[in-house]
């Protein structure tokens, strides 16, 4: 059957080209791989190869034709044995020489604030009124995983030392015993590799929980976290979701120096396709981790080593979850809004106590979700207090505080009585020396000073 040869797209950006030269004449036999023509684009002159064998029946676009749009028929190939009349019989649309190229894709929408859909913040989060147990954050995390693993066989845990060692920080203690080696897996020290493996497993229908001994080590797995986990649903038109939870300690422990102390919150919060959560309390740890495990999207779950041993009242109900995308007002106040996440929530609460002694009433918001950020709760608070201080362990440049400042301007500009102020880690690699390390991190005094500055006292 005669077929048309169309003007090929020789690069992703090519829209049209010129037939510089035909290398075959009408009637020539053509083998697979033979060069048919030279095509000139604004970038280069490229050769067009024949895919199938046959006979060049008819040249539609003559040598020298300019502005030939991609996909325009330029010739007709005949099968062996067909004659020229078959070429005429092939449907040919009128030869197109575009006057203008295809209109470029609509320019991206003018940047709008956080595009991810926000859960309704109108309904206040229902208060939990069931029974609670005092337990450490590490136990709360363990219980969250165990409870979910009991309900769904497809959930499994992998990471370094999670099984026989009972967890490098004892978070997965007891899980190997309860669920066995098939579902609690010790990996070699190969983050790039096993992160990729977890994504493949997720595409295959499993629900991995990947533990990074710290998020510093996840840097070598970033390609899979971002390019494989975060983007594939989008690239596959919704076919390949990645229900993986990537969890582990983030931020500064104590005395572990530059390569083991980084806060990655803003790096991950930057990426569409991820959910990024960071618990503070035991209730956060359990409720958020359960939500993360149940969520069909890739979730980056930023824990904190120093918080693992702290005790809180944690709900017993196995169906208790903390919703993704909802911040929590940990302490109500009227003079200033302090936003924080993870261990810094504790620092903010301590600062609020100190400020209260001096007659300043601070409202403390525990962000819990970094992506999506609960813009509504933050904005509503600032509309009430008229001032905002954001606190984070990470570096200032392009950190979470930068985002808080941006959304505050977008949603509550008219309510501000002072600029948003950020308390961040110092803009240096984490020092090893104990005194320098302490100076490099936010603390209660720094938060108090920042609040006073926005209160102009």
């Amino acid at each position: 059957m005669a077929t048309q040869i169309l003007m090929p797209a020789l690069s992703p950006t090519m829209t049209e080209g010129t037939i510089a030269r035909w290398l075959k004449k009408e009637g020539d036999a053509v083998s697979s791989g033979d060069l048919l023509a030279e095509i000139e684009t604004d970038k280069a002159t490229m050769e067009l190869e024949a895919v199938d064998e046959g006979v060049l029946g008819k040249i539609i676009m003559a040598e020298g034709s300019e502005g030939v749009a991609v996909n325009t028929p330029i010739a007709v190939m005949l099968e062996d044995g067909e004659d020229a009349s078959a070429a005429d019989a092939v449907e040919t649309s009128a030869p197109q020489q575009s006057a203008e190229p295809e209109p470029a894709a609509e320019p991206a929408q003018a940047a709008a604030p956080a595009a991810a859909p926000q859960p309704s913040a109108n309904a206040p989060e229902p208060e939990y009124s069931g029974s609670t147990t005092t337990m450490t954050v590490r136990e709360a995390l363990r219980d969250a995983m165990a409870e979910e693993m009991r309900t769904d066989d497809m959930i499994f845990l992998m990471g370094e030392e999670v099984a026989e060692y009972q967890g490098a920080y004892k978070v997965s203690q007891g899980l190997l015993e309860e669920f066995g080696a098939k579902r609690v897996i010790d990996t070699p020290i190969t983050e790039h590799g096993f992160t990729g493996v977890s994504v493949g497993a997720a595409f295959g229908g499993l629900k991995p929980i990947v533990e990074f001994m710290t998020f510093n080590f996840a840097m070598q797995a970033m390609d899979h976290l971002i390019n494989s986990a975060a983007k594939t649903l989008y690239m596959s038109g919704g076919q390949m979701g990645c229900p993986v939870v990537f969890r582990g300690p983030n931020g500064a422990a104590a005395g572990v120096a530059a390569q083991h102390s980084q806060c990655f919150a803003s790096w991950y919060a930057h990426v569409p396709g991820l959910r990024v959560l960071s618990p503070y309390s035991g209730e956060d740890a359990k409720g958020l981790l359960k939500s993360a495990i149940r969520d069909p999207n890739p979730v980056v779950f930023l824990e904190h080593e120093i918080m693992y041993g702290r005790s809180f009242e944690v709900p017993d109900d196995p169906d208790f979850t903390v919703p993704i995308g909802k911040a929590k007002v940990e302490r109500e106040g009227t003079d200033v809004t302090i936003t924080a996440f993870s261990i810094m929530v504790g620092v903010a609460l301590e600062a609020a106590e100190k400020l209260a002694e001096e007659g300043i009433s601070a409202e403390v918001i525990n962000l819990r979700s970094l992506r999506p950020l609960d813009t509504e709760t933050i904005a509503n608070s600032i509309k009430k207090t008229n001032r905002c201080v954001s606190v984070e362990e990470g570096w200032p440049v392009a950190g979470m505080g930068s985002e808080i400042a941006a959304i505050t301007m977008e949603h509550a500009f008219d309510y501000l009585d002072a600029p948003v102020t950020r308390v961040c880690g110092e803009d240096v690699p984490m020092p090893y020396a104990k005194n320098l390390e302490a100076a490099a991190l936010p603390n209660v005094d720094k938060v108090v000073a920042a609040v006073k500055s926005v209160c102009y006292v």
Binding site: E160, E161, E164, Y165, Q166, A168, D186, P188, I189, T190, H192, G193, N216, F217, M219, Q220, A257, A258, Q259, H260, E426, V428, P429, P431, Y432, A433, K434, N435, L436, A439, A440
Partner: protein, 223 residues
């Protein structure tokens, strides 16, 4: 961990497991480039031996005949995970075979064996033949860190190796049996070493913490 000394050609303890392997390979690259007959000794453990970047390094070192000696300190455990549980093949000295890198297994508890093997490796690398792998079998008496409960091996295992294979004891016995030194002379060596260690520890503990201005130094090279 993060000690560095340009003066002593010591390019550091690096915090990310196996990251030092491409770095060491790069140092080898610089030696070849400058044609200065230098060799880089790159050390890593059995835990690091499965990292992809190790094999990327092996490939380049072999392809470009870089003067690098890869010393794999196989102490049988990567933190709490034995080599058997982490590695599909345990002959780590042979891990370079796929890249044409010769390797040998060395008894790391025998000082003289290590010395000889190292001489072979260095000669190979220095002569322009490219990288060499020493798979050194050794042991770790203590936990990986202070917080390691060490449930992954028995006390008996540790004790036995300490009693039968300790490298320093072996050297001591060798020297005494062959008349190279007397017990007293060796006791004095022990004493001297203890003194050096104590002085170093003292110096560390007595030294003042750095000045606050150090918080901001050495972030960038100022020009």
């Amino acid at each position: 961990m993060h000690m560095f000394s340009r003066e002593k050609n010591f390019y550091g303890g690096h915090g990310i497991v196996a990251a030092q392997v491409p770095i060491g390979t790069g140092l080898g690259f610089s030696h070849k480039y400058k044609d200065d007959k230098g060799v880089c000794m790159t050390y890593f453990g059995d835990g690091a031996a499965n990292q992809g970047q190790v094999y990327e390094s092996f490939n380049m070192a072999s392809l470009w005949k870089l003067p690098v000696v890869y010393v794999i300190e196989n102490n049988r455990y990567g933190m709490g995970t034995s080599v058997a549980r982490a590695s599909s093949t345990q002959e780590l000295y042979a891990r370079g075979e796929g890249f044409g890198i010769p390797g040998e297994r060395v008894d790391g508890m025998d000082v003289l064996a290590v010395k000889e093997a190292a001489a072979r490796a260095l000669e190979h690398a220095r002569s322009g033949k490219g990288p060499y792998i020493l798979g050194v079998l050794t042991y770790r008496y203590r936990g990986h860190s202070m917080s390691d409960p060490a449930k992954y091996r028995t006390r008996e295992e540790v004790a036995q190796i300490r009693a039968e294979q300790d490298p320093i004891d072996r050297v001591r016995n060798l020297m005494i049996e062959n008349g190279f030194a007397t017990e007293d002379e060796l006791k004095k060596v022990d004493g001297d070493v203890k003194k050096i260690v104590a002085e170093a520890a003292d110096y560390s503990q007595q030294s003042p913490e750095p000045d606050m201005s150090e918080l901001y130094t050495d972030i960038l090279v100022e020009s």
